[in-house]
């Protein structure tokens, strides 16, 4: 090693395989310098090789301004995408951007192996054929526009070196290259040609003591690592400690969480600030998944067309726009209101209106501004111009909000701005886009951009296998080496002929190559520190895993203390310290006399179904957020029928008038009523009542209403006495507001109370101690003696009919005479309803679902009433009755 460092000190330029190795060597060099007693020294040239190539390109540009334009990666990608879309395969493929990515990968391989697309000209297979066509088109286009793709850059530099256009250092050391591609080799040759001494150095190989450890699963592995780290750091180990993870992306969040839990147990108690962590994970977060950016992208998407409510909801509750803090609670209520309203989607315009009505002035203003700026945008412009427009739009929204940004958010915003710049650079290949395409590009770019917050150097480094190549640590742990990932399964590039890939030993081409590669990497990795622990999970889900064969010969670790006695987990400590008390609390306070009762007849229904439900709903106002579904909900459909019939009977007072209308006239009157009502409703639900839908809904209502009116025609004479008449009724100490759908005067002079129902109904629901449907009995009591019949008017496509009971016989078809004396029946109802009312008044709130699990099925109060805790087991008995 010191030989290498000596050469660096004497001015050799080091080219490394990746930037991590550069940093590592730099660190080594600095330690070495310090050890020599030096306090300062010229910073050596240790750079990743591709960085060096880029730098040379700049130099070249200085001497030769006539160079082609270098395409940034995203521009090249966009170009590939265009090429693919324009090809005859474009239409067929699922996702042209993903395809472009894959094609670019194949292209890079060709370049790295110094091959021209022409080598594919005579290859068979649809995949290669397609790629060949794309590659040709891509190359042609680049040629025409004088674009240079990054994959070809090293070749250009090599050529320039060979031509003597560039002057270079006197010595190059290439370090960390387990695989030298032909492209690398050509570059090295060119450096030599330019007069430099070029050496490829293998990193010195140290001997080390690896051990293996089997863990139950990957979480257990990470836990073990955490315990190990804890013990190392506690004993004063300064690092560097390496943790190498083959499937880092999948494990990242687990690692972070478990490490935090073990290394910073108290951090879980403090959400107010980011905690300085002793480890660093070499993998960024997807930029698009970060909340600040999410809000931005969401804003852009929402402005366009009606968007689903849940998407609006996220914007409403976002802290990253103007008023996000001030109006936080109000906006939440606005969201709840919108959900209650019943439409599943909403336009920006509509929301501006609603925001104004529901006490969210800041929101209304910001959306208005936003909408205005949006409509002022040109239809098509360049990505560069779009980038600016996007910024402006964000500004009008007050993004990133009024809360002061923490350091993480601050860096995210910075990353976002860089992203916009990269997006703007697409102008080179995509001169003009419309809004939708621009947004799509931006999203894709954000989706594929990783954001890595900056950090101070930390003692623990967590990284993937390839990044670890060549690094040395004081301690090292390699996890996850089961035989499913190590050696990796081959994954040849589908766009290149497989025989070609195999014969040229391209990466991932064949099982043999992967084995060689893994063996080579293993040798280094297992010697990356004096002590290396290699672990593997024994299970993943319900399948069993085996250790990688490449670690089979390594001695297992004899379990040390830190493994067998890891420090207790905080949650377990809390659990152990629990002191619970039992209590019984099923009685709310009695209702104060002066408090009005809201909820109407549903109080009785709820009290009968489950006293707790009534208490929660009507005393505590317990309500969940609605999740509106597409189209009209069952309740709205029902209420339309109500409205139609109300209107109809307003115009047609009795049987006589009804019978005066012949079928045609009836149809016409119904149609008029329906059309008028739909017109009103369409105002209220503009999204739902689109043109044809409204027409269909009219047809439905007309059909149903006419069918129903045929039933009415078959009745003995009657006159409509009241429609949707409101009244107050006191019973059992509470006073409720009620509204009977309709009351008819019968020939007998008595009254029949009618309740329109579009759902399933049963007369049985009126009987028993706790009646399922207390509504009509309540009306009956309210009407007193006059009420001689109560009936459901069941309006269902399969059948329209009355279902009711009456004092006398032959009131109408479907209405049967009460089995017991009408007066007695009324008394029974009075008792039952009084009882329910009193229960409610007294605040009785026991959890007593009338029919057990069945009653609870459609009740959303489970988390509040804690029925499952009471039952002790979350299983519902479905079938129980015999025969």
């Amino acid at each position: 090693m010191s030989d290498l460092l000596q050469r660096i000190a004497s001015g050799a330029t080091v080219l490394t395989v990746n930037s991590r190795l550069s940093r590592h060597l730099m660190g080594e060099y600095e330690q070495w310098q310090l050890k020599q007693g030096n306090t300062h020294w010229p910073t050596p040239q240790i750079v990743p090789w591709n960085g060096w190539v880029q730098r040379q390109w700049q130099e070249l540009a200085f001497v030769d301004v006539d160079l082609p334009t270098l395409l940034a990666e995203e521009s090249a990608l966009a170009l590939w995408e265009r090429v693919i879309e324009a090809s005859r395969w474009g239409e067929l493929l699922l996702n042209s951007q993903a395809t472009a990515r894959a094609a670019m990968q194949a292209w890079r391989l060709l370049r790295q192996w110094q091959l021209q697309p022409a080598v594919l000209a005579h290859e068979e297979g649809a995949d290669v054929e397609a790629f060949y066509a794309w590659a040709e088109a891509f190359q042609k286009r680049c040629h025409k526009e004088r674009w240079l793709d990054e994959a070809a850059l090293p070749n250009q530099i090599a050529a320039a070196l060979a031509d003597g256009k560039l002057s270079v250092a006197t010595e190059f050391l290439w370090i960390g290259f387990d695989d030298l591609t032909p492209q690398h080799q050509a570059l090295m040759a060119a450096q030599q040609q330019a007069g430099a001494a070029v050496t490829q150095l293998d990193l010195p190989h140290k001997s080390a003591q690896p051990h293996t450890l089997a863990c139950a699963d990957s979480s257990a592995e990470i836990r073990a690592i955490a315990a190990w780290l804890r013990q190392l750091l506690d004993s004063g180990e300064p690092g560097p400690i390496g943790v190498v993870v083959p499937e880092l992306a999948a494990q990242r969040h687990n690692i972070e969480r478990i490490f935090d839990e073990a290394l910073l147990p108290g951090a879980v108690l403090d959400l107010s600030q980011p905690h300085p962590k002793p480890y660093d994970i070499s993998l960024g977060y997807g930029l698009a998944t970060l909340p600040v950016v999410h809000t931005a992208l969401n804003l852009f998407a929402l402005v366009r067309a009606p968007a689903p409510l849940h998407q609006w909801g996220r914007l409403l509750l976002s802290p990253f726009i103007t008023g996000g803090e001030q109006e936080y609670l109000l906006r939440a209520q606005l969201d709840a209101t919108l959900r209650r309203h019943g439409e599943s989607s909403l336009t920006l315009k509509n929301l501006i209106y609603q925001a104004g009505r529901h006490h969210c002035p800041l929101l209304a203003q910001l959306l208005k501004r936003f909408a205005d700026s949006y409509s002022a945008l040109p239809r098509r412009q360049s990505p560069a111009a779009w980038a600016r427009s996007f910024e402006q739009l964000l500004q009008t929204a007050g993004w990133p909000g009024e809360r002061s940004l923490d350091s993480h958010e601050y860096q995210t915003v910075e990353a976002w701005r860089k992203l916009l710049l990269r997006f703007a650079a697409l102008t080179e290949v995509l001169p003009e886009l419309n809004y939708a395409d621009a947004l799509k590009q931006l999203r894709q770019l954000a989706g594929s951009t990783l954001f890595q917050p900056q950090s101070q150097s930390r003692p623990i480094q967590v990284m993937g296998v390839l990044e670890a190549v060549g690094l040395e640590f004081a301690h090292c742990w390699v996890m996850g080496l089961h035989d499913g990932v190590w050696p990796p399964a081959p994954q040849p590039n589908p766009f290149l002929p497989i025989t070609l890939q195999r014969s040229l030993q391209m990466p991932h081409a064949s099982a043999e190559r992967e084995l060689n590669f893994a063996t080579q990497v293993s040798r280094r990795l297992f010697a990356a520190a004096p002590q290396v622990i290699i672990s593997y999970p024994q299970h993943e889900g319900d399948s069993e895993l085996r250790p990688s064969p490449l670690i089979a010969e390594i001695e297992p670790l004899s379990p040390p203390d830190w493994l067998t006695q890891p420090p207790p987990r905080y949650r377990n400590q809390i659990f152990a310290a629990r002191v619970l008390e039992q209590y019984s609390d099923w009685q709310g306070p009695a209702l104060a006399d002066d408090l009005p009762v809201t909820g109407g007849t549903s109080i009785f229904k709820d009290q009968a179904a489950c006293p707790f439900r009534a208490f929660a709903r009507h005393r505590l106002g317990a309500e969940s957020l609605e999740e509106p579904a597409s189209g009209l909900g069952a309740a709205e459909r029902g209420s339309l029928v109500h409205k139609v019939l109300e209107q109809f009977w307003k115009q047609t007072n009795d049987l006589h008038s009804l019978n005066q209308l012949d079928t045609e006239a009836l149809q016409q009157r119904v149609t008029e009523v329906v059309v008028a009502i739909i017109a009103v409703e369409a105002q209220k639900y503009p999204q739902i009542f689109s043109e044809r839908f409204a027409q269909l809904e009219c047809n439905r209502l007309i059909k149903l209403t006419c069918a129903w009116l045929e039933v009415e025609r078959g009745r003995p004479t009657f006159a409509v006495a009241a429609l949707e008449a409101e009244q107050l009724f006191a019973i059992g100490g509470i006073e409720v507001k009620m509204k009977a759908d309709r009351i008819d005067k019968l020939a007998s002079g008595g009254e029949m109370i009618i309740d329109y129902k579009t759902g399933k109904t049963s007369v049985n629901d009126w009987f028993g101690e706790r009646l399922n449907e207390p509504q009509l009995p309540l009306y009956a009591l309210a009407q007193g003696h006059a009420a001689e019949a109560i009936t459901f008017a069941s309006l269902r496509p399969e059948r329209c009919a009355f279902q009711g009971v009456s004092k006398d016989e032959a009131v109408a078809k479907g209405i049967s005479q009460s089995k017991i004396d009408w007066g007695v029946q009324q008394g029974i109802w009075r008792d039952a309803l009084t009882n329910l009312a009193q229960e409610f008044r007294q605040g009785r709130a026991v959890v007593e679902p009338k029919e057990g699990a069945k009653t609870c099925t459609y009740c959303d109060l489970g988390p509040l009433c804690r029925i499952n805790e009471l039952n002790g087991l979350g299983l519902a008995e479905v079938e129980s009755e015999d025969e």
Binding site: E124, P265, P319, G588, S690
Partner: protein
């Protein structure tokens, strides 16, 4: 016994050139057989990838891989002395395989990934990955976690086309009108259909016109009719045809012309394809309820048999009697013919051969929309970059090419598939079957390629996952594609004791249908032979039936607990499994086990979302995500960490204005004292949480609040903590930018998860569903609740059936019922077939359950007595009903004995209405301290970010970069080389450099001007010229230097440094700031203040290099300004 009686079959299965279909009943050791065959094949292929073994699950794949690798490893060691013949044989085969390995250098033992053992899904994925164009993906998409949301999106878009004036908009209109204009219903129907599109899409896509569609779909109807008639014809005994005709002609002549039998007046043979005539025949033979007309009393003039008393003519009366008797005799004979009654009844329920126009209209609208929806789905897939498994499978099929023009896989895969081994073939779906067909397309007999299908049709129980056992039966008869399969049947059962095997043989021969029938999935029973002797250690019979004469769930549960206890007592090391058909049958069982203090391992029994710990977390999540979610907030206050009383809740919410709970919580004056105390802590925690929303991953956010509130102290047991972990993992999975896209996702995912088994469970006692137990074995198996009905099935809106037909399969599609109408005949027919398949499968479920037992099997079930105290048959759809012929004696006996020895007394708990909460003054323990990170001389940090970087606008920053670069060049080349002309000529370069850095196109011209201006001004400026004067010593530009400052290694890049004639070291930074306005000097001063620390750091660094006095300067080329000061080395600096 103890002899492998089917050894010959097992040996034949290893024949490397043969293709086989193997029936491997429970316990017959099929994995071992597949392993052996794999080894045999390995010895003959050129690369191990040429063999593909397909398993049903990933778990099974892992197991098989393990078996195979252990077998191969066997060959590297000497044979153990106690090895049985199987082991010895396996080792021998492995040795040969390893020789091949060595010969061709496969290195299988170090590269086991080369063994292709995978699920069908992963095989499909590998095909589409290697054939991106043929598969029409382009690049491998991800598998969607939640495909339903994609279906929903596609369905919504389809329906939204209603207003878009598309060609199919009328179809949508039609469908909506048909469904009572219920958009939600239409949407959910489309969603369901999209999820199952692998079953219908294929049939519809190839047809371009409505006529073609109608023709094809009606062909399927006709196919059903033909097949049904044919079956009846085949079953009808030829010997009785003439009798039938005799009776028929008589009866037909005695009915009115509109009678069903009227068309049979001239019948001389069995009807051919005339359904009406068949209906006539059936009318004659069967009663309305489908039973034979075997009672003369029921045969009347209505059926064409006038009463003898109706005629005066004696001979006629005799004839009447004779004919009547003949009919009864005939039906008596026919009733002996197996399955005939069923076949005739099937004809009865046949739909007509054509759709009526009304029916067709709706079917056509559906077809049209389904295709549109499928197209929308494809777009949704594309835009999300995600697909479902079905898409992968269909694309794989596509990638494999046409049947007559298969894709050359060798090109794409680098090897040719030579051998396919398929496990659990009985659970193959149509889609998978097609895939196999396609994979083997072009295989020729004797070309060395082989197919090896293994399964047990008697254990096919995955109909709900589209398993079609009929395909197994079909393959056994007809082979697959061109490949004929030799059927082999294993019969040795290595698992169960003889007593069990014998009982199973005897019982299931009766439970299973006699006749195989692929269309309805009827599988007949195949005998097993026990490998093990009758057990010596058993007390009592291996199979015990515990009959009950009433539905006493509680009693049964108590009995079960006793049986569990006995089993553990008799065999303390043995396992006991309680297996049920439906989870809901476990309620009482589980309560009883708990009550008896038994801690069992319940596998996927209890819904995770119902665990109180999860429910509280769920409420907490909802509350934090939405302040207006009132139920969640109230639940939060009532959860054990707060435990607010109802009185306090009422007081809290008793506010005139409707405010969110969080707002109400700010004023707690009306609450009780303890209530206020309880709220206090909660409020502090929540306030901080709400403030930090959007700053943490959802999981961390919720978990932190939970821990802060003492959530882990609120749970019952350690298992709850693990359940909480599952919930948190779910949150992590659903996390979308620190929130949830839709709450629905959480609900839906939660509904699919089960609580974990008790971490302190007695591993010997296991409770699970029969489906879950497949592939497992237990010493004792207890099957409770056999007398109980199946949970109710659903009646889907849209039904169809994929039928086998000549040259493939066809689609029988029933019209959707209009809202409010009855289902039509096609629908009823399809449902009837489905019901029948279901019934057969139920028998197989029972078989699976019974064959899990090694030593003992307990069956618990009940039936009831009629009013007359007669034994009733067990309820329809109960498992006991299937076993009735076998177990009836036990019940009859019970009835006689009427014993009622009650088992142990167990008092099951009634829900005690008690809640738990943390005590009011509970204190959370404090956490262990965080690790301390030792500060050392850390290796390299670059300079902290230039403050400039953060403030300057991008362009300005980039201008600075380019100016720096050029000044460096000027410094390096020497001022002499530079002139205004040269600077101007470099403008194109500035442009390139600026745009590379990211200066937006339209800002380029100004930026270029700026650069030029800065350079020109430097050149023209006296100070500038001085700065780059060649006569200075130690001239350095962009000097990169590292050094130790304050115990940190710092790397700096100094713009410019030199030593002037007086021996002073100058350190200069260029600043390309521009400034408008007149307070320029103030500006410069401010800038100097800002950059002072940075420059002083440079000075500190350079002071390490030499002892010269140091002067610091800032140069502003755009402003032509200069600011300098002398560096005063800090006194404490000594030693550094």
């Amino acid at each position: 016994m103890n002899r492998v009686v089917d050894a010959a079959q097992r040996l034949q299965a290893l024949e490397p050139n043969g293709s086989f279909i193997v029936q491997a009943p429970a316990g017959s050791g099929k994995t071992g057989l597949i392993t052996q065959r794999f080894l045999v094949l390995l010895a003959r292929v050129n690369s191990p990838e040429e063999i593909i073994a397909i398993t049903f699950t990933r778990k099974a794949a892992a197991e098989m891989r393990d078996r195979l690798l252990s077998a191969l490893r066997l060959a590297t060691k000497p044979l153990p002395v106690d090895a049985d013949p199987y082991l010895k044989q396996t080792r021998d085969l492995a040795c040969i395989a390893l020789e091949r390995d060595a010969e061709l250098n496969w290195q299988l033992l170090t590269n086991p990934a080369r063994l292709r053992i995978q699920t069908i899904d992963s095989l499909c994925a590998s095909l589409t990955r290697q054939l991106p164009i043929m598969a029409r993906f382009g690049a491998q998409p991800a598998i969607a976690d939640d495909p339903d949301s994609l279906y929903r999106e596609a369905a919504q878009q389809t329906l939204a086309d209603l207003e878009r004036g598309e060609a199919w908009s009328p179809a949508i209109e039609h469908l909506l009108a048909h469904l009572d204009n219920n958009l939600a219903v239409a949407e959910s129907m489309l969603v369901q259909m999209l999820a199952k599109r692998d079953q219908w899409l294929r049939h519809l896509v190839s047809l371009s016109s409505e006529d073609e569609r109608r023709e094809l779909l009606q062909l399927a109807l006709q196919g059903v009719i033909d097949a049904t008639l044919q079956r009846a014809q085949q079953l009808f005994p030829a010997a009785h045809i003439s009798e039938l005709c005799g009776v028929m002609n008589f009866a037909a002549n005695h009915v009115n012309d509109d009678h069903a039998m009227a068309c049979c007046r001239e019948l001389s043979d069995l009807p051919d394809e005339d359904v009406a005539q068949w209906q006539g025949v059936i009318e004659l033979l069967l009663k309305q309820d489908g039973e034979w007309r075997s009672n003369a009393k029921g045969v009347t003039a209505k059926q064409g048999f006038p009463a003898p008393s109706s005629t005066k003519d004696k001979s006629e009366a005799q004839l009447f009697t004779r004919k009547k008797t003949a009919l009864v005799e005939l039906t008596g004979l026919l009733s002996e013919v197996p399955d005939l009654q069923q076949a005739l009844n099937d004809i009865r329920s046949l739909p007509g051969p054509n759709y009526s126009d009304d029916q067709w209209q709706i079917v056509e609208a559906m077809c049209e929309l389904l295709l549109v929806a499928a197209a929308h789905l494809r777009v949704v897939f594309g835009s999300r970059g995600q697909v479902d498994f079905s898409e992968i499978q269909q694309s794989a099929l596509q990638a494999l090419g046409e049947e007559d023009n298969p894709t050359d896989l060798a090109l794409a895969l680098d090897y040719r598939i030579q051998h396919l081994l398929v496990d659990e073939f009985q659970d193959t779906s149509f889609g998978q079957y097609r895939l196999l067909q396609r994979l083997t397309a072009g295989w020729q007999r004797g070309d060395g390629r082989t197919l090896f299908l293994v399964g047990d049709p008697m254990q096919s129980i995955y109909r709900f996952r589209e398993a079609e056992v009929g395909l197994y039966l079909r393959a056994r008869h007809e082979g697959i594609g061109e490949i004929a399969l030799t059927p082999l049947t294993l019969s040795v059962n290595f698992r169960s004791k003889a007593g069990i095997v014998e009982w199973v043989n005897q019982s299931f021969a009766q439970v299973f249908p006699q006749q195989e029938d692929a269309t309805v999935g009827a599988v007949s029973y195949s005998d097993s032979v026990a490998f093990h002797d009758h057990a010596q250690d058993q007390n009592g019979a291996a199979v015990q039936i515990h009959a009950a004469l009433s539905h006493d769930i509680e009693g049964e549960a108590k009995q079960l607990v006793q049986l569990v206890g006995e089993a553990l007592q008799q065999n303390p090391n043995g396992t006991v499994a309680v297996l049920v058909r439906a989870r809901s049958h476990l309620v009482m069982v589980v309560a009883a086990l708990k009550c008896a203090g038994l801690r069992y391992r319940a596998i996927e029994i209890e819904a995770l979302g119902h665990r109180p710990v999860v429910q509280d977390l769920y409420a907490l999540t909802r509350a934090l995500l939405h302040p207006a979610d009132r139920v969640a907030w109230l639940a939060l206050l009532r959860a054990p960490w707060c435990g607010l009383s109802l009185a306090d809740l009422a007081a809290l919410t008793n506010a005139p204005r409707r405010a969110v709970v969080w707002e109400l919580m700010q004023d707690v004056a009306s609450l009780s004292v303890t209530g206020q105390q309880r709220l206090q802590q909660l409020r502090v925690v929540l306030a901080q949480a709400l403030q930090s929303r959007g700053r943490h991953r959802l999981r961390r956010w919720i978990e932190s609040v939970w821990v802060q509130l003492g959530g882990p102290a609120c749970v019952e047991n350690a298992t709850d903590l693990e359940d909480a972990e599952v919930f948190f993992n779910l949150l992590d999975k659903l996390d979308s930018a620190s929130g949830l896209d839709e709450l629905k996702q959480l609900d839906e995912s939660l509904a699919q998860l089960y609580a974990l088994p008790d971490v302190d469970a007695d591993e010997r006692i296991q409770v699970m569903t029969i489906h879950k137990s497949k592939g497992l074995e237990f010493d004792t198996v207890i099957l409770p609740g056999l007398g109980r009905k199946a949970p109710p099935g659903d009646s889907p809106m849209l039904v169809w059936q994929e039928r086998w037909s000549e040259g493939g399969s066809e689609l029988l599609l029933a019209p959707v019922r209009a809202t409010g109408e009855e289902h039509d005949a096609i629908y009823r027919y399809v449902q009837k077939i489905a019901a029948q398949k279901g019934e057969y499968e139920t028998g197989r479920v029972l078989y699976v359950a019974a064959t899990r037992a090694k030593r003992r099997l307990h069956l618990l079930g009940h039936t009831t007595l009629s009013e007359e105290d007669e034994l009733r048959e067990p309820q329809k759809s109960s498992l006991l009903r299937l076993l009735w012929p076998v177990v009836q004696p036990h019940f009859s006996e019970l009835q006689r004995v009427e014993s009622s020895s009650q088992p142990v007394e167990l008092v099951l708990p009634t829900a005690a209405p008690v809640l738990r909460r943390l005590v009011c003054d509970w204190q959370r323990p404090s956490p262990t301290a965080a690790v301390t990170v030792i500060n050392q001389v850390t290796a390299g940090g670059d300079e902290p970010l230039d403050p400039d970087y953060l403030w300057a606008s991008d362009s300005a920053r980039h201008i600075g970069t380019v100016v720096h670069e050029l000044l460096q060049r000027i410094g390096e080349e020497g001022m002499g080389q530079w002139s205004a002309v040269r600077i101007e000529s470099l403008c194109p370069y500035y442009q390139i450099a600026l745009s590379r850095l990211g200066v937006v196109i339209d800002e380029l011209p100004t930026a270029v001007l700026r650069v030029e201006q800065a350079l020109l001004q430097t050149l023209g400026d006296k100070r500038g010229r001085w700065l780059f004067d060649d006569s200075h010593q130690e001239n350095r530009c962009e000097y990169a230097v590292s050094g130790l400052l304050n115990d940190q290694v710092v790397r700096s890049v100094i713009d410019r440094t030199f030593v002037d004639a007086e021996g002073r070291r100058w350190i200069v930074d260029y600043k390309t700031a521009s400034h408008e306005g007149d307070d320029l000097d103030n500006f410069i001063a401010a800038e100097a203040l800002r950059y002072r620390p940075q420059l002083e750091r440079y000075a500190q660094m350079m002071a390490l290099e030499d002892e010269r006095p140091i002067e610091l300067g800032l140069y502003f080329p755009l402003l032509k300004k200069w600011y300098s000061w002398s560096y005063l080395s800090p006194v404490s600096h000594e030693g550094g």
